[in-house]
């Protein structure tokens, strides 16, 4: 009872300070405890991480600010079409576990460009891979720093820029000090924070609306007020207001197919995900930890569509055709942040929320669906504050993983392998730390001054990874005859095709205006074009390979060797 009284007496703001402060102290404590003392510690956490720890770290690394804050909101507005993200961002782990992770672990080096460079016996291939890795990681990380800034500004009411700078210092501290080792163990803690923060409000709301404690089942259940199945009700509400039925969606089948495939293959080709599987001890651990990672990711990803349905229904019922003057407190609060705006076009004092843009009076930012959801459902203060701590955990863990890829690309793939092979272990560790500092500063800069195209490009990082790395790695493992000429040509043409399509149809830099959807090739959006570029990469690689000479004996032996799980030495730089 006393505890209850205290819990309600503390306001949202103070709860947020308490929870964010406690979690930050935890991350810093872990970082100090797990300092890196060698390059092996720094790049692959010493290579002795257990499958469970690696699975949790991979899940936190994977689930970014976008997964935590934006995904449920996107689904909420997209309905069925939201499935491209759900399937696309989970299905790639099947490819990873079955076709990449075990072999790359057996190969036993530090980075993805390491594999490309050695397998294709060429520093040109290595450098192409480094450029692809940097391109993918930088576009991705800028979005994370922005996410940190947004959470700070909305929940703690500090300026977005101050938020970015605070976030930079926290990441800098544990990424530079601990390298992969520090990152891995803080990510384990961050997974716990973010999953708890996501599940608690979801369970509360599911129980409130459907009487079912499990959100995954709740959104397929009947409502407690006896008005039938929740999804039927939402379908009805949606068509009443002129939107397409929630469970039907509006994208074309071919585009849904292409986007899903591009995201899956892109996931399997993202360097910051792949590199996590270098940190476990044995090949069998790599397989198992991919399974654990996906299990932990799917826990959130199957909850998100439920949250989307709860939030959408709640929101429509709260606002639709209701007097503006009677709106609850959260509505006013989010109005001041500009995330909700109301314009009374017909001057009747009521809110018309409809699909027809000329009559619609309400604009809602999709991020609200997760950030404001607990308030909309009138949950306790501590639950509302928890969302801030969860969002920060998601953004920081992903940012740290990406920064490590960037620093390893520079200190290991460029300096150690190309520019100055004679560098000492100590020198390389210093270089790794300095490049991590440099990467944080650049990421922070883009967090504070986001170039207009960053948001557009983050989603396309997957297309870039699908168009470049995935075919080169798969062919490197499964096709012994694949040679450097084929692989390099494939990567270059794949990534250039993806970039050109993106520039023309997403950014519109080639024309005065953005070309219309009807001009898309085969009706495939820029987000789905990674699939086409990937196919192009495969075709080019194999064609060129047919006309050029087979790789040397030694390389063919490497391929035979990585196909056998036993005798996986520890990850090494030589």
């Amino acid at each position: 009872m006393i505890l209850d009284a205290i819990m309600t007496a503390i306001g949202v703001q103070d709860w947020t300070y308490i929870l964010v402060g406690l979690t930050f102290a935890l991350y810093i404590g872990i970082a100090i405890w797990s300092r890196a003392s060698s390059t092996k510690d720094f790049y692959v956490a010493g290579g002795g991480v257990s499958p469970w720890a690696n699975g949790m770290a991979t899940a936190a690394d994977w689930m970014s600010a976008a997964s935590f804050i934006s995904m449920a909101g996107i689904i909420s507005f997209a309905g069925y079409d939201g499935a491209v993200y759900l399937m696309g961002w989970t299905g790639g782990y099947v490819l990873l576990a079955l076709m990449l992770a075990p072999y790359l672990r057996k190969f036993g080096k530090f980075t993805v460009p390491d594999f490309i460079g050695d397998r294709y016996y060429s520093n040109t291939a290595r450098i192409v891979a480094v450029i692809c890795a940097l391109l993918v990681s930088f576009t991705y990380v800028a979005g994370q720093m922005r996410g940190v800034g947004i959470v700070f500004s909305r929940f703690l009411e500090v300026d977005i820029n101050a938020g970015v700078i605070i976030g930079m210092f926290i990441v800098l501290f544990y990424a530079v000090l601990g390298g992969m080792k520090g990152i891995t163990y803080t990510q384990v803690a961050q997974y716990c924070v973010l999953i708890f923060a996501f599940m608690v409000p979801a369970i509360f709301i599911s129980f409130q609306m459907t009487g079912n404690l499990i959100p995954q089942l709740g959104f397929g259940s009947e409502l407690t007020d006896g008005s039938g199945y929740l999804l039927d009700k939402l379908d009805g509400l949606s068509s009443e207001l002129g939107f397409s039925e929630y469970t039907e969606g509006s994208k074309s089948t071919i585009d849904v197919f292409a986007i899903t495939l591009a995201l899956m293959v892109g996931t399997a080709g993202l360097p910051h995900v792949i590199v996590r599987f270098f940190t476990v001890k044995r090949v069998r651990d790599a397989r198992k930890s991919a399974g654990i990672a996906l299990l932990l990711i799917v826990l959130l990803y199957t909850t998100a569509p439920a949250v989307a349905v709860f939030a959408r229904t709640n929101m429509i019922e709260t606002v639709s055709n209701k007097p503006y003057a009677n709106m609850p407190e959260w509505f006013k609060k989010w109005e001041t942040t500009g995330l909700i705006s109301f314009e009374d076009k017909n001057d009747d004092g009521n809110i018309q929320y409809v699909a027809d843009a000329t009559k619609n009076e309400l604009t809602v930012d999709r991020d609200i669906m997760v950030l404001a959801n607990p308030e909309i459902a009138k949950l306790p203060n501590w639950v509302i504050a928890l969302v801030a701590a969860g969002g920060l955990a998601a953004a920081l863990s992903t940012a740290a993983g990406l920064l490590l890829v960037i620093s390893a690309s520079v200190s290991h793939d460029l300096i150690k392998k190309v520019i100055k092979p004679s560098i000492s272990e100590k020198g390389e560790l210093v270089a790794a730390r300095l490049s991590a500092v440099g990467a944080v500063v650049v990421a922070g800069y883009y967090g504070i001054h986001p170039p207009g195209f960053v948001a557009a490009v983050v989603a396309l990082a997957f297309g870039l990874a699908a168009a470049s790395f995935f075919p080169a790695i798969i062919l490197g493992i499964f096709y012994k005859r694949m040679n450097k000429e084929g692989a390099i040509a494939g990567m270059v043409i794949g990534i250039v095709a993806m970039l050109l399509y993106m520039i023309k149809y997403k950014l519109g830099w080639f024309d005065d205006t953005l070309p219309d959807k009807s001009e898309w090739w085969f009706g495939i959006s820029p987000e789905g074009f990674g699939t086409v570029a990937m196919v192009l990469n495969f075709v080019v690689s194999i064609t060129i390979m047919k006309f050029t000479k087979a790789p040397p004996e030694g390389v063919q032996e490497i391929v035979e060797n990585i196909r056998i799980p036993s005798g996986a030495g520890e990850a090494s730089s030589h």
Binding site: G82, L98, M99, R287, G291, L295, Y301, T302
Partner: protein, 85 residues
């Protein structure tokens, strides 16, 4: 069996597992969740239209099961060929 033959036989069995599991992977996500979703949507299980459920729930559960099935099959295969050291 020579060392090389053994490695080859192991690889062939591995590829067979991978192909079977990937076929299931394709069927639940691209098949049930995308290409045939309209047909499946005519079937309802509790409040879920089946195509919608596969797209937003079912395919993800199957993905998890597929990886653990592969882990199990490969651990057995490693043992059979003596690669489990």
């Amino acid at each position: 069996m020579t060392k090389k033959d053994k490695a080859k036989a192991y690889w062939r069995e591995n590829i067979k597992y991978v192909l079977i599991l990937l076929a299931i992977w394709f069927l639940v996500s691209y098949g049930a969740g995308i290409l045939f979703k309209d047909e499946l949507n005519t079937i309802k299980v509790a409040g879920f239209k089946l195509g919608f459920w596969f797209a937003q729930q079912g395919s993800m559960y199957v993905f998890v099961i597929l990886i653990f099935a592969y882990v199990h099959l490969m651990n057995k295969l490693d043992k059979k060929y003596g690669y489990d050291s």
